[in-house]
Amino acid sequence: MLSKRIIPCLDVMNGQTVKGVNFVDLRQAGDPVELAKAYAEQGADELVFLDITATIEKRETFVELVSRIAQNINIPFTVGGGIQNEKDVEKLLNAGADKISINSSAVKNPNLISKLKNQFGSQCVVVAVDAKWINNDWFVFVHGGRIPTEIRVIDWCKKATELGAGEILLTSMDHDGTKNGFAISLTKTISELVNIPVIASGGAGNSEHFAEVFTKGKADAGLAASIFHFGEIKIPDLKIYLKNKNIVIR
């Protein structure tokens, strides 16, 4: 049976891991390569690295970091943040990343998804969607959640899938950093809407939240950051908990 995936996410700024609470207030959380190795050894199924300064600052340091990560871990990892075009993607894949995650640039230019699909295959194209609940619906936000759009999350996820996305990384901005649990109903809606895996993100505070997002939320993978970085949930403990709930876990 295909297992549900546990994915620690490392937000990277100037080569260091950081995590925003509700996308502001950054706290330092260690060296990305050391963290990555520790997570791989603990049983993380995959890792995500987001370069949160990429749109503003130079990207070369991030490409070097990606190369160092690839040399040090033996599980798949996704990288994202500020990817604009095929050239950026090619550099990151050549540095050893397995998948890339695009967000604002795909919203601005949806054809980027199909271009990347045709050039590199949909298996490496993760479309990250930042969702916020406004006026009784979920809307897409871009540029690290700073700028609203008038695009409904369900419309965008459907379109991204049709254009060739391989996975959707779905973050509820309303839940992110709260530790009160994932956006279950949003995750379920999207996971049932699209025929590609959905990675739920935002709101994990304890092991029960993961069980909930896998069963009620129908997520294929659960992503979290600070609770892992600060050891509030240990991945081996989380996996035992989920196995005891009869959820398929590696």
Binding site: Q71, N74, G121, Q123, N195
Partner: protein, 193 residues
């Protein structure tokens, strides 16, 4: 040990190289026939599309030499699929090494099949020291049917070949280079053949 990774227009070649580097092997990445023939081990990786990959191999005349090779040969993911008879992906005739055909998963569950799944009915040296039902990492939309050459099976929507072996030809549908310590052991097993 001289290890050649066959270069063609498919992704993921660098991941395999980096994985071998972690095992202190520095492979060459090449589409040169003589370099491939003179290597001790040959790896044929790749994530990509079957038709254009076969066309590239034909253009470089690599398609003909592959089935003649005598050294241990490992196809990974698309590599495995191209070693079968035929792929439904753009109706592509493949290398006829493994007696199996490649088909698109019926969309009963999500496709592509992405993530960690188990391998069972393990046979052959590639799976030395590997337990039944070990988890390995898959990313694919097409699958190879189970045949007499099958040496590992996985179930997603239906049972399919996670690995084939015929003489010196080995292959995995999953990515050993991304399958943690289990995958590392499988790569070591191959390198020790």
């Amino acid at each position: 040990m001289k290890v050649a990774i066959i270069k063609y227009n498919a992704g993921n070649i660098h991941s395999v190289k980096i994985a071998l580097n972690r095992l202190n092997i520095n492979p060459i990445i090449t589409d040169n026939k003589d370099e491939i023939i003179s290597s001790d081990k040959v790896i044929f990786p790749g994530v990509g599309e079957a038709k254009s990959a076969m066309e590239y191999l034909k253009k470089k005349n690599i398609d003909k030499i592959i089935s003649e090779l005598k050294q241990p040969f490992l196809g990974i993911c698309l590599g495995l699929q191209l070693m079968c008879n035929h792929s439904e992906e753009n109706d592509t005739d493949c290398l006829n090494i493994f007696d199996s055909n490649v088909k698109l998963f019926p969309p009963k569950l999500k496709v592509p099949h992405i993530g960690w799944n188990t391998i069972s009915n393990l046979k052959g040296e590639l799976f030395n020291k590997i337990d039944e039902n070990s988890f390995v990492y898959f990313v694919h939309s097409y699958f190879a049917e189970i045949s007499n050459d099958t040496t590992a099976e996985t179930n997603y929507i239906l049972p399919f070949s996670a690995s084939f072996q015929k003489n010196n030809f080995f292959s995995t549908q999953f990515h050993p280079e991304k399958s943690g310590n289990i995958g590392e052991q499988i790569l070591k097993n191959f390198l020790e053949l």
